[in-house]
Amino acid sequence: MSRPYIPKVVTANALLEGDVVYLTPDDRWTRHHHEAELIEDEAHAQLRLLHAAARKAEVVGPYLADAKAGPDGPEPVHFREVFRTRGPSNYRHGKQEAAAH
């Protein structure tokens, strides 16, 4: 039996600000992980990544990151991706700053 596929989201950095962004099911780039499209199929993931890579004037460095389903939408799995949803831990800068406003 092959191992079950770990679901993915497509993530990248926005070209202009460098902010972490995620690809949504309706082809928008969102700042919020829980709005990302949770991709459960490997072939579909590759297609979505190709689609993201073609949007060169919007984002930099798209890749597939492991994710899992949560009550409010997809959640990150690895701690690096958790940090990317928030910002640095030494200052409340980045997304956590925006969230506080």
Partner: protein, 556 residues
């Protein structure tokens, strides 16, 4: 202070204009990221985890109040009100927006600064002893040579595409404060039998995934031969260095694989050619540069105010004991301003703090500032009578922490709070160690102890040469910290040795505490430093304290 020539000015302005155009074309979509990336890296612009990062060179760590104020202005106008000073004597801005970068570079150019050759496989910002031109133990100020190297290496047509990045460090003192032995080329000033100054040339040092202590290729190189010799080393490296594997491309691997003796012969052979080619114009240029680095006109005044304060004020005394170093002029002192307030991010300064430091330099410090590789700021020339006023002003700005060289004076790379390559965080580990030892009120009793932390094997935080080194790794999806002991970044350089299995994030601070408590127990007397004790008793008692006491570490 050395000012850039018209040639430099024109070069930097042209580069800013080119890059502005490149940014415009990237934003309008006519350049792809693959095309743009090498261009932005050539101009010091990285993309990190949460944002872009702009790395600005501070050649040989020297700047004046005007430059410092401009950095403050940039931090406020285009960033989040602070900057991060790094181990390579650069400053990094963590939050620039792509569209603002041309303006930032132009503001830097207004004060003779730039971000050129802070990235890429070229000769990087040449670093120097941060006490250069001031230290009591110095033979000669090494910065004119550093400036000569900067001019020679900037845009050098032959050396823009080396096998890998190339870092040169230089010190004019026998006591090595510039970590010369962990650089691709280290230059340490020494005297020959006749008392003439020249350089011990060290090659092939490096940290990263294969740490190596540099080897001496030349015991004594007369100053007049410096540039041709360095060019010979670079020429040989450019030709023979490996380009097939980027992990084996640094000159340290060439030294290791070729062997020091055969490599020395090849370099010396090449040197015969390069020396003939140079024919002395470099020395004329050096003489000109040296004039610009003439020492300031030292003030003559009594120092009783200092002596009185030192006697009466314990807070001032504690600061003076840790943060001052001996100046070549007995009435002067070298002030190290700690950017390591307990619990703060090592190396960060707010715009306001930058302005305070600029003001102090202008008012009391012959308008000179330095950035140290230990991520602190230096006022190299301060008359002792002015120290109480300086201390008071620093205290107001949260800059008077008396901890230079102590356990909370930690070098930490940005780690996973900023860096896209990181495998774990390093900044919060540094913050928590500093906070913990401050709460225990132990650090002055512990004495000199260097902790250095990197967030991945690239070793930007110099962990290999920390007395206690900490390396953050990703072990099966959780942060894990490996400890090394016995590293040393001075003239007695050594690479630290791993103690054993690593520690989880919430276990690393207690682990460090166990090491330190073991040291306090084992040391023969309070004056025996951590490193001396370790060298006397070996690693076993420390490993015992680390692993036997609590036994909570994960299995390797």
């Amino acid at each position: 202070m050395y000012s850039y020539t018209d040639f430099d000015e024109a070069f930097v302005r042209t580069r800013v204009a080119q890059f502005s155009e490149q940014v415009r074309r990237r934003i309008d979509g006519s350049l792809t990221e693959d095309e743009f990336k090498p261009l932005r890296l050539m101009n010091g612009l990285y993309l990190q985890l949460h944002a872009y990062m702009l790395r600005v060179a501070i050649p040989y760590g020297t700047l004046d109040s005007r430059k410092m104020r401009q950095l403050a202005m940039i931090a406020e106008r285009w960033d989040k009100g602070y900057g991060h000073f790094t181990t390579r004597q650069n400053i990094q801005f963590n939050w620039p927006k792509l569209g603002d970068v041309p303006e930032i570079l132009s503001a830097l150019a207004d004060v003779g600064m730039h971000a050129i050759q802070t990235s890429g496989n070229c000769v990087r910002n040449v670093t120097a002893d941060h006490f250069a031109g001031a230290a009591a133990d110095e033979i000669e100020d090494p910065r004119p040579v550093a400036e000569l190297l900067r001019q020679w290496s900037t845009d050098h047509p032959e050396f823009q595409f080396l096998p890998r990045k190339f870092k040169i460090a230089i010190t004019g003192s026998p006591n090595d404060r510039a970590v010369t032995k962990s650089h691709d080329i280290g230059l340490r000033m020494v005297r020959d039998a006749d008392g003439e100054p020249g350089f011990e040339v060290i090659v092939g040092g490096g940290l990263g995934r294969t740490p190596m202590i540099g080897r001496v290729v030349r015991d004594f190189l007369p100053k007049a031969d410096l540039l041709p010799y360095v060019e010979a080393i670079l020429g040989v490296y450019n030709e023979l260095g490996r380009r097939d594997n980027k992990y084996k491309a640094r000159v340290k691997i060439l030294v290791h694989e070729t062997g020091l003796e055969p490599l020395r012969e090849i370099i010396e052979e090449r040197f015969i050619e390069t020396r003939a080619e140079f024919g002395g114009q470099d020395m004329a240029l050096l003489a000109e540069i040296e004039r610009a680095f003439a020492p300031p006109a030292f003030r003559q005044a009594p120092t009783v105010a200092y002596d009185d304060f030192y006697r009466e004020d314990p807070v001032f005394r504690a600061w003076a004991d840790t943060n001052l170093a001996r100046h070549r002029n007995a009435d002067y002192a070298i002030v190290t301003i700690s950017l390591k307030a307990h619990g703060a991010t090592p190396g960060d300064a707010t715009a306001e703090q930058m302005r305070v430091m600029a003001d102090l330099a202008e008012r009391y410090g012959h308008d000179e500032l330095r950035i140290s590789h230990e991520q602190n700021v230096i006022l190299p020339h301060v008359h002792k009578a002015d120290l109480p006023a300086i201390h008071a002003a620093l205290a107001q700005a949260g800059l008077a922490t008396a901890n230079v060289g102590l356990i909370s004076d930690i070098i930490a790379c940005p780690g996973m709070d900023y860096c896209a390559l990181a495998t774990a965080r390093s900044i919060p580990v540094a913050q928590e160690i500093a906070t913990r030892f401050d709460a225990l009120d132990l650090e002055h009793e512990v004495g000199p102890l260097k902790i250095k932390i990197s967030g991945c094997i690239n070793a930007c935080g110099h962990h290999h040469v920390g007395h206690i080194g900490i390396l953050g790794l990703d072990r099966a999806g959780v942060e894990n910290y490996q400890i090394t002991l016995g590293g040393d970044g001075t003239e007695t350089a050594a690479i630290g040795e791993k103690t054993g299995p690593g520690f989880a994030y919430d276990e690393i601070v207690p682990a460090v505490e166990r090491i330190v408590r073991a040291y306090l127990e084992i040391r023969s007397e309070p004056s025996e430093t951590f490193l001396d004790t370790l060298r006397r008793v070996g690693h076993a008692p420390f490993k015992a304290a680390l692993y036997e006491a609590e036994g909570k570490q994960d299995a390797a």
